[in-house]
Amino acid sequence: MRKGQLKKKYNRQEVITAFLFLLPMFSIFIVFKYVPLLDNIRISFTNWNLFSSTSKFIGLQNYINIFTSDMFWQVLGNTFFYTFWSTIISLGLGFLMAMALSHRKSKGANILRTLFFIPNITTASAVAILWMWIFDPDFGLSGQLFNLIGWESPRWLLTPGYAKWIIISLSVWRSIGYIMLIYTSGLSSISEEIYEAARIDGASTVQQVTRITIPLLAPTTYFLLLTTFIQAMQVFDIVAVMTGGGPYNSTNVINLYIYQTAFARFRAGSAAALSVILFLLLLMFTIVQRKVSQQRGKDYV
């Protein structure tokens, strides 16, 4: 409010209209967003089993059980492992792809840009099934290729060490097109003159990239790092379909663990507690993202 200005009087008609206009949105949000979030906290303090209409208040018992169980830490570790690697690799490849295609305006380049984005719009559960077939050690693409060189293909999804990476590979495959796109937009906003000046000063291509491109793209990178990270923390479809968390829970991630706890073990109270923990983790990372992008002086959302 500017100093000295009278407080605006609200037109009653307008306020009522505004209320009616916002009503549909709020009805949905109240029933399906705000209330459930709060109810989730309540359920996390009970021993609800998804069936009974009654449940007992058990205080922090669920949380204590979770933090003292090996399984939770294993799942959390898996989640961070997957999130970290798929983020880093996607960003790296996406950046290189944007670089390789920058300054290329040919028809071919446009076709490639279009093509590279296709994995991003695919249905995750369907592609997960395709991935299982590709990596089938007997007759899938992996099996056939290994057979060609006379070896036996590793049993990818049945080996704890490898299964994680197969899942990461699918995640990377689906993300790089989008990352490339964002970096492309970021690259196009760097003016050519800066590079000109550097070239005149005798900078090599590599130096141009490391001293100019990457630093100037830092806001984009921070944005992508954190949004991709937050996205990846919530992975479910591809893990549920490809491995179900196995082998030996080596690919069990937190969303899948929540699902199993609620719908396979019928420990809904415990699952709610896990959800609260996940929510707090995501909240923490979101706040970090906002702080960082504010510091950088540009707001990307």
Partner: protein, 274 residues
């Protein structure tokens, strides 16, 4: 750029192209194999002549017709409702004066931090007690409003010069009329981009549909294709499964290829959900 860099760049692009294209190729090739025996053989059996009949056969293994209809109905309905709620809300935030506007908008932004999965248990409880489990209602109504969409549409409304709205008001048009007739026309590109995004999210949803439905009659394509994989006793028939997978993936790809700019235009505005 030095020519060495150019060569490296080109090689890299070729590599990425192979990586992106090969899975699709493998899927198509498998889908054209004549039978299971041909699929499960080493060395690789080349499917000639290609068995296009697999596509028809695959559609009969599971009732994909039902799944497709369900996918279309739920995605279209939810998208339509989201557009309406988004236009109404964005209009209110942009052109109407009411107390607490900023606080209320913050409440909307707060929803961005409440992904469905985080509250799935109380959501299950609510849907179950409403009797909505295994119904279209459960697949549409909770998605009738989306915070990100409201934010996007509001951004776009704010970028439209206020003159248009002023002129319409002088002519005596009511808010509803302005909102839908005029704004829709002026903000068309961003609304289309949002609609496509919303459609994609609903179409590709697996988690929610998996939990909220259990009958064949309410399944959508993402769940249906997984059912086809899991219920195959006597060994998976990959040639049929790959044909079905292609059919499931095709619609979104076709939509993307024909309306590309609506996909990418929005991303450039900074940030999107998966």
């Amino acid at each position: 750029m030095s020519s060495l860099m150019k060569v490296v760049g080109t090689l890299f692009l070729i590599l990425i192209t192979i990586v992106v294209v090969t899975p699709f190729l493998w899927m198509v090739i498998t889908s054209l194999q004549p039978d299971s025996a041909a699929v499960l053989s080493r060395p690789f059996h080349i499917p000639f002549p290609p068995s296009f009949s697999n596509y028809a056969k695959a559609m009969l293994v599971e009732p994909f017709g039902i799944y497709a209809v369900n996918s279309v109905v739920t995605a279209v309905a939810a998208t339509f409702l989201q557009l309406i709620t988004a236009i109404l809300a964005a209009y209110a935030f942009t052109y109407l004066h009411f107390p607490g506007k900023n606080v209320i908008f913050l409440l909307v932004l707060a929803v961005l931090m409440m992904p469905t999965q985080v509250a799935i248990i109380p959501l299950y409880s609510i849907i179950a007690r409403l009797g909505w489990l295994d119904t279209f209602k459960a697949l549409i109504i909770p998605f009738a409003a989306d915070a990100y969409g409201i934010f996007l549409v509001k951004q776009h409304f704010q970028s439209i010069p206020k003159d248009y709205v002023e002129a319409a008001k002088i002519e005596g048009a009511g808010h509803v009329r302005i909102a839908f007739m005029i704004m829709t026309h002026l903000a068309k590109p961003s609304l289309i981009a949002y609609a496509i995004m919303a459609f994609k999210w609903r179409w590709n949803d697996y988690f929610w549909v998996l939990i909220m439905t259990s009958s064949v009659n309410r399944r959508t394509l993402p769940v249906g294709i997984v059912m086809m994989k899991e219920v195959s006793d006597g060994g998976t028939q990959w040639h049929l499964l790959m044909a079905a997978t292609l059919v499931v993936l095709a619609p979104m790809i076709i939509i993307y290829l024909s309306m590309q700019r609506y996909f990418t235009q929005d991303y450039l505005k900074g940030g999107v959900k998966g």
